[in-house]
C-alpha cells in the first residue's frame, strides 16, 4: 500500500516538474513552425512578384521592339508612327490575365506630347510591377528626342 502511494506521488511530481520543459520545447517548436510558414509565404509572394516583374520587363522590351518596327523610312521611329501603332490590341494579347497602363512621353524638357494606353478595369490590387524603357524617336521638327515607355501592371 505504502509502496503504491510513493509511486503515485513521484508520478504526479514528475509531471509538474516536466511542465516548464514541455513549455519551452513547445514554444520553440511553435516559433520555428510559425516563422517557417511566414517565410515560405513571403518567398512565394516574392516569386509571384518576380514572375510579374519579368513579365512586365519582357512586355516593355516587346513594346519598344514593336514601336521600333512601326517605322519604315527611318532607323529611329517617328512620334507619328508611335501614335498610329495599335498598342492597345497588342498589349491585350500580350498581358491577358493582368491589367496594365502604358504611358509613352518625352523625357527631359517641356512637352505636352504623350501616348496613353490602358485597360479600363478597376479591382483590388494585390501585386504590382513597373518597367521603364528609354528609346529614341524623331519629332515633327526632325530632332531625335528621348522618349520614356512606362508600363505598370497589376493583378487582382
Amino acid at each position: 500500500m505504502t509502496c503504491a502511494m510513493r509511486s503515485d506521488e513521484s508520478g504526479v511530481a514528475g509531471f509538474f516538474e516536466d511542465l516548464p520543459v514541455l513549455a519551452f520545447v513547445l514554444c520553440g517548436v511553435l516559433l520555428l513552425v510559425s516563422s517557417s510558414l511566414w517565410v515560405s509565404a513571403q518567398l512565394a509572394g516574392l516569386r509571384e512578384n518576380e514572375r510579374l516583374e519579368k513579365l512586365t520587363d519582357r512586355a516593355a522590351d516587346m513594346i519598344v521592339e514593336v514601336i521600333g518596327s512601326s517605322t519604315t523610312s527611318y532607323d529611329v521611329p517617328t512620334m507619328q508612327s508611335i501614335e498610329r501603332s495599335n498598342l492597345f490590341e497588342y498589349l491585350n494579347d500580350l498581358l491577358r490575365s493582368v491589367h496594365y497602363a502604358l504611358n509613352i512621353s518625352k523625357r527631359g524638357g517641356q512637352s505636352d506630347w504623350y501616348v496613353m494606353v490602358k485597360d479600363c478595369f478597376t479591382c483590388e490590387v494585390s501585386q504590382t510591377a513597373f518597367a521603364s524603357r528609354l528609346l529614341n524617336a524623331i519629332d515633327g521638327s526632325g530632332l531625335v528626342v528621348v522618349l520614356e515607355v512606362r508600363l505598370i501592371v497589376w493583378r487582382e
Partner: protein
C-alpha cells in the same frame, strides 16, 4: 535521499536543455525572418545598373536640340539636329589635341541639361570624357563630388576618325539633400 538529488539534477538538466533548444529556435527564426529582406535588396541593386547603360546609349543617340557656334580656331557651327555622341566625339578630339574646354561651354551646358532632364528622379548625372593614356578625365560635367555614395555607372567607347579611343562614362549618384529638406 541520493535518489531525490539525482531526480532533481536530471530535472534541472532537462530544463536547461529545453532553454538551449528555445534559444536555438529564436536564432534560427531570426535568420529565417531576415531572408526575404536580403533577397529583395539584391534584386534592387541589379535593376539600377541596367538603367544607366540604357540612359547613356539613348542620350548619346539623341539630338543636341540647339544651334551652336564655337570658335575652335575657326568658327564651327553645330546644327540642332547633330547627335550628342558626335558633338562629344568632336569635343574629345579637340581636348586631346590640347584645346581649352571653355570653347565648348555652350555645348557642355546643353549636354548637361539633356542628361539632367533624362536622369531618374533623385539622381544626379555626371559625365566624364576619358582618354586612354591620360590618368585624369579630359572633361567632367559637372565635377564629380568626392564623397562616397551609392553610385551606378556605365561607359561607351568611341573610336575617333584618326583611331583615337575615347571613353564616355556616365555616373548616376543620389542627389545631395537640399537645404529645404
Amino acid at each position: 535521499m541520493s535518489g531525490e538529488n539525482e531526480a532533481e539534477d536530471s530535472g534541472q538538466l532537462a530544463v536547461m536543455d529545453a532553454v538551449v533548444f528555445f534559444a536555438g529556435a529564436i536564432l534560427i527564426s531570426a535568420g529565417l525572418l531576415s531572408l526575404p529582406g536580403q533577397i529583395r535588396g539584391n534584386s534592387d541593386t541589379n535593376d539600377a545598373t541596367i538603367d544607366v547603360a540604357r540612359l547613356l546609349d539613348t542620350v548619346l543617340a539623341s539630338s543636341i536640340g540647339t544651334n551652336l557656334t564655337m570658335d575652335t580656331g575657326r568658327p564651327v557651327t553645330v546644327s540642332r539636329q547633330a547627335l550628342v555622341r558626335d558633338c562629344l566625339a568632336f569635343e574629345g578630339e579637340f581636348l586631346i589635341r590640347g584645346g581649352e574646354p571653355e570653347v565648348f561651354a555652350e555645348l557642355n551646358l546643353a549636354v548637361t541639361a539633356i542628361f539632367d532632364g533624362c536622369a531618374p528622379a533623385g539622381m544626379d548625372a555626371y559625365l566624364l570624357l576619358v582618354y586612354r593614356s591620360c590618368s585624369e578625365p579630359l572633361l567632367a560635367l559637372p565635377h564629380l563630388p568626392d564623397e562616397e555614395a551609392t553610385r551606378a555607372a556605365s561607359s561607351v567607347e568611341l573610336t575617333l576618325d584618326d583611331g583615337l579611343e575615347l571613353l564616355i562614362v556616365l555616373v548616376l549618384s543620389p542627389s545631395a539633400p537640399s537645404e529645404l529638406d
